[in-house]
Each structure stands twice: as structure tokens, then as C-alpha cells.
């Protein structure tokens, strides 16, 4: 039972960090290798604000704003030439550009904030959940993740703008012919993915901590979840996150934490071989 609950807690975190990545891939054909760094920048802003003894609300708002603003800046500047290309060339250029951004941000973070880490303190004793003692921080983090993920799915499924986003994932030109402003929609979704990365940083801070050098690890985890869930599929990313979270918990108990990332990669590889469109996708 403990594994299951630990797996769900971690899985929700994986889902939260992966949905932003999968959305902008589906929408813009941009695989954002700096996604983890967006989360880390948000974490650093939150940590600095908390260290300055500002109220929690300010730190939360600051972290989210940092994630969103950085995403907006990326979309408005470096990704403009990327959007002008189509198909494979767009994906390739996006990989190079965002990888450069990832290294740049890593460099800046490691030199300026080498020892900063975001931990969001929660007071109070552990809570009993079906016989398992769970830390409050983990429960709050999971609750926030569930609300955010459900909210995102509802937004995509039942709002007019959400429908436009889905239509763009399916056919960009068709969406333009229907009157969808591709560039503006992309910007909104990119900012949304930055906000989600910021939210991930905060909830991860509730569970454990986010340090200055964690960007690459976060990106890799998000990539694995995105592949297993099917590129561009939000509901797929949610299911894949939960599944991989549980696999992760089991693997770290029975085998050891050192090997879990390899096991997750193996799951992703198997997915590509067996179900290339992701676990919720149709078998082709």
C-alpha cells in the first residue's frame, strides 16, 4: 500500500511536469528541452522570496510568475524562427534552441544560486491515509496536482479556446482556416506550460526540494512521461505519469533508487516499440 501511495504522489508530480511539455509539443512541434530549467528558475525565485521571509503567497505568486514569464520570453524571442519552419525541421531546430537555453540557464543558476533549494515548509503531523502515514506536504502537493490536471483537461475539453488548442494539435492549417490565431494560441499555451512548470516546482518543494542543478533530471522525467503518454496527448501524459510513478516506487524499493531511471527509460522504449502513439493511443 505504501508503494502505491508513494507511487501516486510521485506519479502526479510526473504528470504535472509532463503535461506542459506534451502540450507545446503537440501544439507547436516544439520539444522544449529547457522545460526542467523553467521549473528550476521558478523554484529559485520561490526559494529566494521565502528566504527573504516574505509571505508564502508572495513566494508562490513569484514562482508561478517566473515560470510563466520565462516561457513567454522564450516564445516571443528564440522560438520565433523555429515556428517559421515546418515538420521535422521545426522539431530539430526547437531541440537545438531549447537545449542551448537549458545549458545557459543551468550555467546561470549554478554560478549564481549554487546552494539555493526550494523547500516549502508545512507544519503539522503526518496524516493517516488507509493505514499509511503520509506527510502533509505530500498530500497537499497531490491535491494541488489533481486540481491542476483536472482543470487543464476540463479547459481543453469544454472551452472554446481549449477546442481551438486541440484543433491546432490535429491540423495547424485547418485551424488557421477556421480563424484560429496560431501565434497567439501558441503563446498562451507556452505561458500555460511555464505556469505548470512553476506549479510543479512548488509542489515538488512541498514533497522534497528542488535544487539549482535539477533541471536536466526534471526534463528527462518529463520526456519519458511524454513518450509513454503519447506526444501531444494531455490525458495520456496524466495516465503515464501515474503509471510511471508507481513503477518508480516499486523499482526503488525492490531494486534500488540508482536503477529506477533506467527502468523508466525501458518502459518508454517498450512503449515506442509496442504502442508508438502512447499508452492511450491506437495500436497502428
Amino acid at each position: 500500500m505504501t508503494f502505491l501511495l508513494d507511487g501516486i504522489v510521485f506519479g502526479l508530480q510526473l504528470s504535472l511536469v509532463a503535461v506542459g511539455l506534451t502540450l507545446i509539443y503537440g501544439l507547436g512541434g516544439v520539444l522544449n528541452l529547457a522545460h526542467g530549467q523553467l521549473a528550476v528558475v521558478a523554484a529559485m525565485v520561490g526559494a529566494v522570496l521565502l528566504a527573504a521571509e516574505l509571505p508564502m503567497v508572495v513566494a508562490v505568486a513569484g514562482a508561478l510568475a517566473a515560470g510563466g514569464a520565462l516561457a513567454w520570453l522564450l516564445d516571443a524571442t528564440l522560438l520565433r524562427p523555429v515556428y517559421r519552419l515546418a515538420g521535422e525541421r521545426r522539431v530539430l531546430l526547437s531541440l537545438l534552441v531549447t537545449l542551448g537555453v537549458a545549458f545557459l540557464l543551468d550555467g546561470i543558476l549554478i554560478t549564481t544560486q549554487p546552494f539555493t533549494a526550494l523547500t516549502v515548509p508545512v507544519a503539522g503531523p503526518a496524516i493517516d491515509v488507509v493505514g499509511v502515514s503520509m506527510r502533509r506536504g505530500s498530500l497537499i502537493a497531490s491535491g494541488v496536482a489533481v486540481v491542476a490536471l483536472v482543470g487543464l483537461i476540463v479547459f481543453l475539453r469544454w472551452t472554446r479556446f481549449g477546442r481551438a488548442v486541440r484543433s491546432m494539435v490535429q491540423d495547424e492549417e485547418g485551424a488557421a482556416l477556421c480563424g484560429v490565431d496560431l501565434s497567439r494560441t501558441r503563446t498562451v499555451v507556452f505561458v500555460l506550460s511555464g505556469l505548470l512548470a512553476g506549479l510543479f516546482a512548488l509542489t515538488q518543494g512541498l514533497i522534497s526540494s528542488v535544487g539549482a542543478t535539477d533541471g536536466l533530471d526534471i526534463t528527462i522525467l518529463a520526456l519519458i512521461v511524454t513518450v509513454v503518454g503519447g506526444l501531444g496527448r494531455v490525458s495520456g501524459a496524466v495516465v503515464a505519469g501515474l503509471l510511471l510513478g508507481i513503477v518508480h516506487a516499486l523499482a526503488s524499493f525492490y531494486i534500488g533508487a540508482f536503477v529506477t531511471i533506467v527502468i523508466l527509460l525501458v518502459v518508454a522504449m517498450l512503449t515506442i516499440v509496442v504502442r508508438p502513439a502512447g499508452i492511450l493511443g491506437k495500436v497502428s
Partner: protein
Amino acid sequence: MLRVDELHVAYGDTAVVHGVSIRVEVGAAVALIGSNGAGKSTLLRAVCGLSRATRGDVVFDGRSIVTDPAFRIARAGLAYVPAERRLFPGMTVRDNLAMGAYPRKPGEGRLDEVLTLFPRLRERRRQAAGTMSGGEQQMLAIGRALMAQPRLLLLDEPSTGLAPVLVDEVYGALRVLCDDQDLTIVVAEQQVPRVLDLADHGYVMELGRICLQGTAAELRDHPEVQRAYLGMA
């Protein structure tokens, strides 16, 4: 309603449309005839903003739209149904139609009109667009374009790949739109007899240029059209 002036369009370094001019009056049905590669699609894509013209002008309702992005032209009331249809295959018929009205809310009345025009779509409202037959997809593509209540409808090869009975159905619907709903229509087509039955005016395009124009009757009787497109000696 629509005026294309000396339009030049190039793909990369290759010019595909060389100084084409056409006029479409309000309420007219205009045929754009030509073989594969004549530049019809390129011309239509440039008119609706999916490709950029290198020279020339496109004037819609008295306003130049030649530099506008596609979404703005669509919102201005110029709808384009491409030959590839560009549907959203994983979304339902209903969602595809709703997207046609974007960014406005899809009106129930309009939805009903479109479903009355294409009864097959009504039966398949909840079906994913990608699972339908070519003919049904063509109807959905036209229906989606109509959801925005456009004033001008451009269609590229609406009959391609369809069984004759479905071509009848599609052209029947276009006839209703022209006659009863006073929609202005431009149809690029290789099935010349069909499109000349629908149109009152037409242009013949060859190698990126307009080589012939006239009323539908004039074109039907023209020896060159008869030889090249109507299979008469």
C-alpha cells in the same frame, strides 16, 4: 466582392502563379478550370492567406487582404475548403463544425442549417471525423466552412476522390448554397462539365496564367475547352 490583381506566387524560387487577375461579383458562382499543376491551388492558397504572394493584390470587400494572415481572412468572411480538407481527424463531426464558427460560439440555428444541407453529417455527429468516408469528409469540410457564415466560399477540387453519387450530392449542396442562400462561390475543378453546370462564369488556367475566360456557356462551347477538358475532338 473579390478582386485578384496581377497576382504572382512563388514556391521557393519557382514561380507558380504569374500575374493572375480575376474578379468575382457578389452572388456569382465562378469556375476555375485547369489541369493538375496549372496553379489553381496555389492561387487559392494565396487568396486565403496560406501562401504569400510575391507581387500583386487581393481585394476582398474593398479592402486589400494580401498581407493578412489566414485566420484574419477567415474571420473576415472568406472561407476556403482545401483539396486536402484539413479536418481535425480525432475530433467529432460536431467539434469540427463547432470549430468552423471559431472564435464565436457555434450557433445552434446555423448548425441545424448545415446538418440539413448534409443529412449524412447529422447521423454521424458523434463520430470522429477521421473515420468517415472521403465523401462524408468533403461534406464536413464544406459544412465546417459554412459554420462561420462566410460571404465568399472558395473550394479546391471538391469532387476529387469521390464516387459519382457523392459528387452529385456535394454539387447539389453547392447549387443550393448558390441559388437559395446567395452565397458567392469560387470552385477550382478538373471535372469541367460539373463545375460549368454550377458556374455562371469561369476562368481557364494553364501554367500559372489565365488563358481563357468567359461565361459558362461560352467556355462550354469553346473549342479549346472542349478539346482539353471535355474530351471532344
